[in-house]
């Protein structure tokens, strides 16, 4: 993961309901930036062992840290914090609404460190702040195609312009599946290192239908038709049917679609006028799920019969 100079302003954490910030201290410094995607609990850093503490990382004080600092005599506490502060942490989040002595908060204030208080447990706080920060810091890539949630799977439908992706997407929405974005999707790696696709704000909920123009999905199909983001499980590449080309007849080929350094399974579907694309895609997804959960393929079936 690359550190970025841009960073995330600390105040943006206040707008994330998941992180559940209840109180803030030293608000003057909320405009400072977090420049490292990892969230840390300082732990032994407060006792003087500073190795492996990232600069620019958000620091989380759980029961251990607050308890330890509160138990120290003022002079010791100052010494302990001096080391910690020399690493210039952008902000401290306190978990489980633990209380820090006002004197400690004041020392942090002098050193331009804001303090946020959340009611979440440390473990939950770390996982939620990480997922928020990873979304921001991760390498991003924009890809043309339609991203949908079909039977719980994140499916990216690709194909040349005009092959009928948007129309297929609408049929799939009518069948009860959900759309993330039509046309252009932004992918990033989440905190599990898996590619996740997200709509682009300026064109969310809009879908182009040749002949009609650009229509609003939410108006047509309701809020249930859309999802904000989805982990990518499978890519379906539609290509126009070429009679000269040899297509996979036995399902032997394993194709992969490279994205952000990961390989995602892919099926190539030849498409011609009159093929029922939405049903074909649903079946492809069902087949994908059945293969993932270990059911045997036709070739495996033949091999077993032979034995």
């Amino acid at each position: 993961m690359i550190r970025s100079k841009k960073g995330v302003e600390i105040s943006s954490l206040l707008n994330v309901p998941d992180i559940s910030i209840k109180k803030t201290f030293n608000e003057k410094w909320l405009n400072k930036k977090i420049t490292h995607p990892d969230t840390q609990k300082p732990g032994l850093a407060l006792a003087g062992y500073m190795e492996f503490v990232n600069r620019g990382s958000l620091q989380i004080f759980g029961k251990t840290e607050t308890g330890y600092l509160n138990s120290l005599k003022p002079a010791e506490c100052k010494k302990s914090l001096d080391g910690f502060i020399s690493l210039k942490p952008p902000a401290v989040i306190i978990a489980e609404e633990q209380k820090l002595k006002p004197a400690i908060i004041e020392i942090l204030n002098i050193n331009r460190i804001s303090v946020l208080v959340s009611d979440l447990k440390s473990s939950l706080l770390i996982s939620r702040t990480s997922s928020f920060l990873f979304k921001h810091f991760s390498k991003k890539v924009r890809i043309n195609g339609v991203l949908m949630d079909i039977m719980g799977q994140g499916i990216l439908i690709r194909g040349e312009s005009g092959i009928g992706k948007s129309e297929t997407a609408m049929e799939l929405i009518k069948k009860g599946h959900q759309l993330i974005s039509d046309d252009l999707i932004e992918f990033y790696l989440d905190s599990n290192d898996e590619p996740v696709g997200k709509y682009i704000d300026s064109i969310k909920k809009w879908i182009e239908v040749r002949g009609l123009g650009i229509i609003n999905i939410v108006d047509m199909f309701g809020f249930g038709a859309m999802l904000e983001e989805k982990k990518l499980d499978l890519v379906i590449d539609m290509e126009s049917w070429d009679p000269k080309k040899k297509y996979d007849r036995l399902g032997e080929e394993s194709l992969y679609f490279p994205i952000l350094g990961k390989d995602i399974p892919m099926f190539k579907l030849p498409v011609s006028v009159g093929r029922n694309l939405s049903t074909l895609i649903e079946i492809t997804v069902k087949y994908f799920i059945s293969r993932k959960s270990g059911s045997e393929s036709f070739l495996e079936h033949l091999n077993r019969e032979k034995r």
Partner: protein, 89 residues
């Protein structure tokens, strides 16, 4: 592959109507055509894709085409930009 950088000169930049003209023109070619702006690369045949660029007057934008009619595609698209999308006389 053909590539060319051009400046947007029409007052409104790549707004909806201009983007519609551009994607309409791009759809006439077999080549894969892309617009590159600010590190984003979008398919020139996709209207919504072009709109996400939010490119405005004075910005430099790169046209990239690959296919059997790539040079014709780039020169005609360049022409459309130079004619200011036929919207200002």
């Amino acid at each position: 592959m053909e590539k060319e950088k051009i400046k947007i000169t029409n007052k409104l930049g790549l707004h909806a109507r201009a983007a519609a003209k551009l994607s309409h023109l791009a759809n006439n070619f077999n080549s894969n055509i892309f617009l590159i702006f600010n590190g984003d690369k979008v398919n020139a045949k996709s209207l919504l894709g072009i709109l996400t660029l939010a490119a405005s007057v004075g910005n430099d934008i790169t046209i990239e085409a690959e296919g059997d009619d790539e040079s014709k595609a780039v020169s005609e698209i360049k022409g459309l930009f130079e004619r200011k999308f036929d919207e200002e006389s």
